[in-house]
Amino acid sequence: MRHMSWAAAVLFLLSSLCYPQEATPTDPETIGQLVQQVKDLQERVRVLESQQRPADASIPKAPNLPTPSVEPAERSAAASAVAEEIHETHGIQWRGFGEVDYKALNQRVPELGTYGFVPGSAGNFYTGDFGLFLTSQLTEKASVLSEIVFEDGDAQTYKVDLRRLLLKYDYSEHLKMSFGRYQTNIGYYNWAFRSAAWLQTTADRPLVMEFASNGGLLPTQAIGVSLTGTIPSGKLGLNYVAEYGSSDTIRPDISGDGQVTDENNGNHVNVGFFVRPDALRGLQVGASYYHDKISNLALYASSGAPVPQPPGSPGSSARYGETIDNGYVVYVAHGIEFLNEGFLIRDAALHFSNTVFNTPAFYSQLSKQLGHIRPFVRFQYVNASPNNWIYDDVGLRFGPSVGARYDVNDYIAFKAQLDHTVRRDEPDLNGLHLQLAFTF
């Protein structure tokens, strides 16, 4: 009998634990407060109903109206939220991003004079890119996206760059179309980090992925049509990218000689594939192939006048068939960011020679989020032949960058980065780059 009563007590205790709801407060003071709150609310409802009655009396009531299944107050809140959502669907969404930078190099010889950095200075402040990002949903499947960037230039002048303007139409998961000015999907970086410094872990982009308008090697922008979508592949997560457009790239020489190269690109084709396997979330592996025909028209940046061609040069009318092969493996998950991309830029002289210039480049970047801080390390490499007239300002450059990103909050990040660059026939270059990047 004693055992039976003990068992009953255990059963009672466990049964009470089985009850899924959380324990409710039972002390008399709390119950008293709750009762008082209920009374207050009942009184407020009574007052509101009495105010509502005269207005209701003037409205003839429709017979057999369905009774709302949700409480009136909750329902009206829900309706307004849904209405707000509908408004948001058809309105314009604004986002912005900006940066304030300080950079110092250990040389006074002008070089890398882009983004407002004064070539030859011991160190100076600049604002890089200030971007306004607008999107608007036109229909369930059509939308507009634009990215207007105010880019810091020489002597605190600003130029406006419509970096992206896209009319997007998503026909299905397998076919998403974009028409307008897009960022070319050569590789991962250009897609993943777009224009905003706030998105990047590092203070700057790897040289090979730098915007062409800031001396980067690749045609980072084009106007045309871009298609993307998934390819049915089960757990492999296979996607494709296909682009056809005009780049018309003008890139400044990063050697700081005051010249720009007008590539006068033809229409390019870019085709790429990437996989995001279910088995390893965060892994993305991809490859792309780009083809275009370009010129090497050297111009003075200040006047736009042609630069006299050096002896032996094929001249400004020479055309090159350019192909860019890219492959990448990235892993971004669990606070780890591991980016690895390789490029082979091939510029084949057309009609005037059999010369082919190969420019290999790669970067590897590793970082790990530790609370608010994300330390990073990056190694990059670009090797352009000294005989390559197109990238004669680049030459061989390689070296590490180390630093850390500190997320002040969800919108502001501070970055500190040290760079060491080894250059062919030039002294090594050391740099310090501080950046305050933000989005709003």
Binding site: H3, M4, W6, A7, V10, L11, L14, S15, L17, C18, Y19, P20, Q21, S69, V70, E71, E74, R75, A77, A78, A79, A81, V82, E85, E88, T89, Q93, R95, F97, F133, T135, Q137, E140, K141, S143, L145, R164, L166, K168, D170, S172, E173, W191, A192, R194, A196, L199, K235, R276, D278, R281, A333, H334, G335, Q369, D407, D410, T439
Partner: protein, 160 residues
């Protein structure tokens, strides 16, 4: 007789523990709720993750997916963050990134109550949201995950 009297409470304890475990699982389970006209009935865990990560934009029937979530501090939010493997801060940053990449129009709308979730799911054919299993009401269509309903052993989506 003595063995029998000892065995009985032991069995009762075991049965109660099983009951406790099932109830605890059920209490922590979070259901995936869609519009009742959505023909989808089951999803894999990977599909659910790609949906709430904004990587999958359409249901199999070609219907655009519309994500609604609960705000921070709720069990549904915790289940969402666990599903995506992110902290609250990483989640916010992720969606800002998705928007700036042009992969999403906006961060999924956070709704403050079950009633609003029900309203939103009813208003949008392609809507999907996460609802605490205890709060499921009539008219909410609950999807299976890997063929399992919330409350069943092995159901993957749970809050705290």
């Amino acid at each position: 007789m003595r063995t029998r009297t000892l065995l009985m409470p032991l069995l009762i304890c075991l049965a109660s523990l099983v009951c406790l475990r099932a109830a605890a699982a059920q209490a922590g389970d979070v259901a995936v709720v869609v519009n009742d006209r959505n023909p989808v009935t089951t999803l894999s865990n990977a599909e659910l993750r790609t949906i709430f990560a904004g990587e999958k934009h359409y249901w199999s029937a070609g219907l655009p997916i519309k994500i609604f979530v609960r705000g921070p501090g709720t069990r549904e939010r915790e289940a969402l963050l666990k599903l995506l493997g992110m902290t609250e801060s990483e989640y916010k940053r992720y969606w800002t990134t998705q928007v700036l990449r042009g992969e999403a129009q906006a961060e999924p709308m956070a709704l403050p109550s079950i009633g609003m979730q029900r309203e939103a799911v009813g208003a949008y054919l392609g809507a999907v949201t996460l609802v605490n299993f205890e709060d499921i009401k009539a008219g909410m269509k609950v999807l299976k995950l890997e063929g399992r309903k919330p409350g069943e052993t092995g159901y993957a989506l749970q809050g705290r």
